[in-house]
Amino acid sequence: MPRYAMVIDTRRCISCMACVVACKAENDVAPAHFRTRIREEISGTFPDLRAETRSELCNHCDNPPCVYNCPTRASYKNEETGMVLLHKNKCIGCKACIAACPYDARYVDPVKGVVDKCTFCDHRIAAGKQPACVATCVGGSRVFGDLDNPNSSVSILLRQHPSEVLLAGAGTEPRVFYIKHYRTPR
């Protein structure tokens, strides 16, 4: 059973927005709405500056507050793949899941009137492809794969480098891992 996860190498993210645009086209996301975004953080004062650039998306948490807060089981965690997904036909649009998500990963689709979110492009995965954002990542920053497969690129990367998750203190146990520093070569 695959345990899907994404690893984002922030060193290689050059904030080009390819993922943002590809995601919108792939998933027909409404204008002014997004399933993934780019965050650029600059700290320090001139000329001693540091930059961190990363893409953010639904973390497909193992302890997903959106799922717990859904009153109709529209939001669910796919037990087989670990993806946090949505039965749109069950969504009443109460927005509790949006309030519950510390990553602001969800939105109300203005056309369909239901909540929507990143699906890890499960339809592409089923067709043997990478998620749209990963497939088009110019910097090679986004990597997708199966944590249960020790030879998958995500497993290898997570073994090779120290990684972190966003808002670890929130206890959501994300499945999106960030590599911010490389392990110093021996």
Binding site: E40, Y68, N69, N89, I92, A100, D104, V114, L167, A170
Partner: protein, 322 residues
């Protein structure tokens, strides 16, 4: 730190805004109906039912409960983005979702409060009941009015807590994510219920009784509210930042600063008014002046309760987990 985010959702920019006055009004009205149910039950249960004698509030208050509740539920329904799917709430029980057990709770509360209405409706008003079966039911229920009142009391407390838990279950919103919030909301609901009882009751005894009760509730609320802020202030940086809108007193947070100042004025003022009323022998008859003072303090408490809901619904959406 300079932060640039490209691709934020319209709903999350410049801060989250998913719930508006409809949800705040729902929480206020839901809390009010819950508080009123509790107080109406108290009226029937206290002093072996002495207070009920000749007291119109004994049936008006229970009658108000489903009306206020229905109004509140109308507003939450209006907030739903996909109203046609609302039946889905009742095809599942999600124990971790306050929204789920709240909607089941409301489903139970509504008929229970209706039973309370039937049980307390005076016989002279049975004409309002269109069906004979209803009249018979009402007549039979009258005998068990104390049991029904007690169930409504429990149900009222449950709903009063639920309106707070609804918000407090979100780790993502530090202002809400406090277990004091349900207590605060319950106290606020109960004091609002007591205030409404003061307004709808006729007898001096009942009015004075609920005035006394309200004093305790307001005092408790005035203790819990600062404790809440203290707790947030001494917690994580996100929690501390979450109460900033109330205490920044800047143009940006005008409404929240105003709310906190208003609460700081309303509650003590209402409290003093009420303390004056219950001084031994001070009030012997319901003169227009006395009625005005009592209704004024009650209205202030209701206003305070509404302010709490609105302020928390809006400010909570400004707060963010780091």
């Amino acid at each position: 730190m300079e932060v640039t985010v490209t691709g934020l959702n319209a709903l999350a920019f410049p801060h989250m805004h998913i719930w508006d006055w409809r949800v705040a009004l729902y929480l206020f009205l839901g809390g009010l109906s819950a508080g009123l149910a509790v107080m109406a039950a108290v009226l029937h249960l206290r002093k072996n039912g002495e207070l009920v004698e000749g007291e119109a509030a004994s049936w008006i208050a229970p009658l108000c409960v489903p009306v206020v509740l229905g109004l509140g539920m109308l507003f939450i329904f209006l907030d739903l983005e996909h109203k046609l799917n609302v039946y889905r709430l009742y095809l599942t029980v999600q124990p971790l979702s306050p929204m789920s057990w709240g909607s089941w709770g409301l489903l139970a509360f509504f008929p229970l409060s209706a039973l309370f209405v039937l049980a307390t409706l005076p016989e002279r008003l049975y004409g309002w009941l269109m069906l004979d079966s209803l009249r018979n039911l009402a007549r039979r229920l009258t005998e068990s009015v104390r049991i029904i009142a007690f169930i409504n009391l429990l149900m009222g407390i449950f709903i009063g807590i639920y309106t707070g838990v609804l918000l407090s279950s979100f780790v993502a919103r530090p202002l809400w994510n406090s277990s004091i919030l349900p207590v605060l909301f319950l106290l606020s609901a109960l004091s609002a219920g007591a205030a409404l009882m003061i307004i709808v009751s006729r007898s001096l005894a009942a009015k004075l009784f609920f005035t006394k009760l309200d004093i305790f509730l307001i005092a408790a609320e005035m203790t819990v509210l600062p404790l809440f802020f203290y707790g947030q202030y001494t917690s994580s940086s996100a929690h501390r930042a979450s109460i900033l809108p109330f205490f920044a007193f800047t143009h940006e947070y005008l409404w929240f600063g105003s709310a906190i100042i208003l609460l700081g004025v309303i509650f003590p003022f209402a409290l003093v008014l009420k303390l004056l009323e219950i001084r031994e022998g001070h009030v012997t008859a319901l003169t227009p002046a006395v009625l005005f003072r009592m209704n004024l303090s009650a209205a202030l408490v209701l206003l305070g309760s509404a302010i709490v809901r609105f302020a928390f619904v809006y400010a909570g959406q400004l707060s963010h987990y780091l």
